[in-house]
Symmetry: C2
Subunit: 251 residues, 2 copies
Amino acid sequence: MPPAHNGGDRPIAAAAPRGRRGDGRDPVDYRLARARAVPEATVARLATYLRVLSNLDDGSITTVSSEELATAAGVNSAKLRKDLSFLGSYGIRGVGYDVSTLTEEIARTLGLTVHRSVALIGVGNLGQALAGYAGFATRGFRIAALIDVDPARIGTMIRGLEVHSMADIDRVVVEQEVAIAVLAIPAAAAQEVCDRVVSAGVTSILNFAPVVLNVPAHVDLRKVDLAAELQILSFHETRKAAAVLTRAVDQ
Amino acid sequence: MPPAHNGGDRPIAAAAPRGRRGDGRDPVDYRLARARAVPEATVARLATYLRVLSNLDDGSITTVSSEELATAAGVNSAKLRKDLSFLGSYGIRGVGYDVSTLTEEIARTLGLTVHRSVALIGVGNLGQALAGYAGFATRGFRIAALIDVDPARIGTMIRGLEVHSMADIDRVVVEQEVAIAVLAIPAAAAQEVCDRVVSAGVTSILNFAPVVLNVPAHVDLRKVDLAAELQILSFHETRKAAAVLTRAVDQ
DNA sequence: GCTTGTGAACGAGTTCACAGCG
DNA sequence: CGCTGTGAACTCGTTCACAAGC
């Protein structure tokens, strides 16, 4: 991996298990420390498990087996059990998992028990759609600020939030305690805006611009490349079409 | 993996290398068959390489080394070379890769040399943003049809396209030769719509609804879960905060 | 020389299958 | 007896390091 770049598949080193300390104070949340290092692949699935659990929670079901939860999440049960085992031992043998306990533990692991404010940079088509996306609020995130560079947009209100100038980013990050920024801006502007956002103190970025961003090592970066998703599907379409031709020729 | 479900991490079995055939005809594109099975992880990166190459192509550069291309794509050069080696041997030792040849080979591998029409299902906030996303067109895809279930939207024009009813899906898929559908609809409706789209003949789906979809084995499914992306970043935020606390306590 | 292409070593992630326990 | 939790086997993906070849 090149220096100063975190790709989507960055190596992890999760909440380090602490050794014994001599003093009696306990300023660190031990429930975090107790968890073993959680593999990156597991973290990604925890979000799905949490969503499935919250659907279950509405009903009268108080307990789920790994088999039930795995089926609902679209994975196999061994994988689900291994995933959950990284959080600790919250299942009951012969019974299953308590829905509310498990929900709580996953939410804690994902850091959703604390306040998470998000700054949305870029309020074009995609940005406005993201600003109105209800799924963020229901799953633990508050869009705390909208920012754009277009003078025509600055000062306008979108979904109850005023659009600020990029010059306000430092103040916004501090005042709203923003740790996560979502970039919904053109590719050409993305690296510059990214640098600015990082210097304002943001330490996690979700990038929708189709460009490779370089960030310092302490900043986590994830990307959503919409066209790439279609291209991957296109690859498999080609493969399926070739398989049909191959079969036709073989017989 | 549960039956009849393809997750995002589906096992691959790419364009099967063909054995010798006795007849002289050659109805199958051998350039597809020539490529070895391409790992899923490689396919995902090919889209990035293609994008980076197309930026390079504008200039006067006709050749790139694996080191240059890898840096621009945010991967290391060994990985890039191994990725490209799955397509065949298109590099020149001591020199590098010819930009236009490589662009062509990657595009062919991803199936972008043929016409790819996409149906967009759901023209709410996100759907409209996707309908207007220029990146689809510039990277090989044409949004050929818009569909929604809301009677208020059906018949309206969005970006030059009329919004059709779900009842038109069968006709649209055939007439426009749609193989890929993008679902930008509420979670509650997603499985039903998905089933309908599959029965109309769509064989690849990109799902934006935060729900696990079940599809037949011949259908490829990818998902974009926006809230999950933020939750993954939130996990790492928690880890970083814990690391700071841990260090503070240790010293 | 310099850069590709790749076997081999390594590491991450998944699945198996069963011990451990309620 | 049923279901969790997990070592062990296995598969997939990455990195190393160097032979091959322009």
